[in-house]
């Protein structure tokens, strides 16, 4: 899966070979996490912050992530207010030594849908504070346009609610966002379950996908990581190759000239 110099993923001016961003949660074991991240070929891995007295937070996990050698993308998962996400983003910047933030602001507890109103406010605050914001958002065109207007160079609309594995539930919306925002780096974040979902996102012209549960929750996360790597590569190649136009009427592929058993009436 070689990547040409001209066809790399661009995130706020930095280039990456892989178009798959992967999460570090939910794996059966730390070793499987490391192996699956490696097999996925990802250059970027997502992490978070929690209270130090919680079970898994701390130096041991952080060392495992550092050992992967990958670029870290911290998230603000679980936050429900602008104040919470801004504070958590600032804490992430100090701990992880990066101005990147995957901005998650939950608006509804049932489907973990992002809060579009608060997301705009928080994004504005964090961009002005020097962050490079990667907002996790719904597939609403106008919301994405407003986020881009604020200065977001990367947008991450959902494919489906987090952890559902449903794939791209509204390809039309995603396609429209791609067409209307041709300059933004677009990443489908959340809801993917199968490598074919990732392939479809790349075929729509999305620059990358971000996923976690689809790999971590597979029967063999290491093999699934590799499957996603191939799917993302295939999807990108397909997009660059420009697929044939879809038609409503059948058209024979075998030449009709010289057709046997044909008689002119």
């Amino acid at each position: 899966m070689e990547t040409t110099q001209q066809d790399k993923l661009n995130i706020y001016g930095e280039s990456f070979d892989s178009r798959l961003l992967i999460g570090s949660a939910l794996y059966p074991s730390p070793q499987i996490m490391q192996d699956a991240i490696k097999s996925s070929g990802a250059d970027i891995v997502t992490v978070s912050l929690r209270r130090q007295n919680s079970v898994a937070a701390g130096e041991d996990f952080w060392q495992l992530i550092k050992d992967t050698g990958l670029r870290v993308l911290p998230n603000t998962a679980g936050c429900h207010s602008v104040k919470e996400v801004v504070t958590l983003a600032q804490m992430c910047r100090e701990v992880f030594q990066t101005d990147w933030i995957k901005l998650e602001l939950i608006g509804d507890e049932y489907n973990l849908q992002p809060d579009p109103i608060g997301l705009l406010e928080a994004t504005d605050i964090l961009l002005k504070d020097g962050f490079k914001v990667l907002p996790y958002c719904t597939d609403d065109l106008v919301l994405c346009q407003r986020l881009a207007d604020l200065g977001c160079e990367v947008l991450m609309p959902w494919g489906a609610p987090i952890g559902t594995g449903k794939g791209l539930i509204n390809p039309y919306n995603l396609k429209t966002i791609r067409e209307r925002l041709p300059e933004q780096t677009l990443i489908v974040d959340a809801g993917l379950g199968l490598p074919s979902h990732a392939c479809q996102a790349l075929e729509l012209g999305y620059d990358a996908v971000l996923l976690n549960s689809a790999v971590a929750g597979a029967g063999d996360p290491v093999a699934m990581g590799s499957a996603f790597a191939h799917a993302v590569s295939a999807g990108r190649m397909s997009y660059k190759a420009q697929a044939m136009p879809e038609k409503d009427v059948a058209a024979p592929s075998t030449p009709t000239m010289g057709m046997p058993f044909w008689h002119q009436n």
Binding site: G23, S24, A25, L26, Y27, M33, T46, V47, S48, L49, R50, R51, Q52, N53, S54, A56, A57, G58, E59, F61, W62, I65, P74, N75, A77, K83, E84, T87, L88, Q90, M91, C92, E94, V95, F96, I162, A190, N212, S213
Partner: protein
């Protein structure tokens, strides 16, 4: 005085700095600190003085999606 440390009620001597409270609680780096929901940069911990009833959050790296 009474404080809330990562969601738990604790009692500490008055006039301790945020840095001293965190050290006394045995916090291990890497971590970042918030006081009453506001981020406190590491460089300001020694000079930050919590007040009775304040809430302290000490957060460390964990898995994320």
């Amino acid at each position: 005085m009474k404080l809330i440390y990562n969601g738990e009620d604790i009692q500490v001597d008055a006039h301790l700095s945020l840095q001293q409270i965190i050290v006394n609680k045995g916090a291990k780096p890497p971590f970042a600190v918030a006081l009453n929901g506001q981020f406190v940069p590491a460089g300001l911990l020694p000079e930050t003085q919590p007040e009775n009833g304040d809430s302290i959050e000490v957060l460390s790296p964990i898995q994320g999606g």
